[in-house]
Amino acid sequence: MIPLSWFLILSAILFIIGLFAVITRKNSIAILLGIELMLNAANINIITFWRYLYAPSGNLDGIILALMVFVVAAAETAVGLGLILSVYRRRKTVVADDLDTLKG
């Protein structure tokens, strides 16, 4: 069977790629894509630990936590895209750097 560490390495790599996307991309929708990737990596970790350590004893914490991650990701994408669209409607730009009116 597949040892536990392989899943953790995969989720670590995916998380880092998501982090890389969030930092380097200028377009705010691309930043949202990076956040989605990071959430997915976290989800892999949750389900891996549930399956290897808690599933045989019938404990369901991991599955419920993964479902909550889905709910939070859906809500976050919905509101995030709503904000991006309303900013685009008023400022005609989606680039994150242009939104610096609060800067002193």
Partner: protein, 118 residues
Amino acid sequence: MLHEWFYLVIFLSIAFLLPAAAILIAGLLSPRKTGKIKTSTYECGIETVGSSKIQFKAQYYLFGLIFLIFDVETVLLFPFAVAYQKILLFGVIEAVLFVLILAAGLAYAWRKGALDWH
């Protein structure tokens, strides 16, 4: 448990390869005489007007959003539906509360006019 999913992997790969193979075979059988006029984008025979990028109205986003929220809600309701026979009336009331809260969300969207297609 795994061999059922293994069957699905085989099934889906064949289900996607079948049309791909058909298209490839048709590609070999069909002639290939491309021309400048022939491959120009089709717009009822007249020249294309303006760039292919057009401005969409915000309602596409609104419908996608409401679909997303109700999709997540339904997915959370499915485990409850599976366990329905073994749950007492108290559990059913909780699920009814879950559905009613989101019905209130739909009522808000209806009231705000987010459900109309302008």
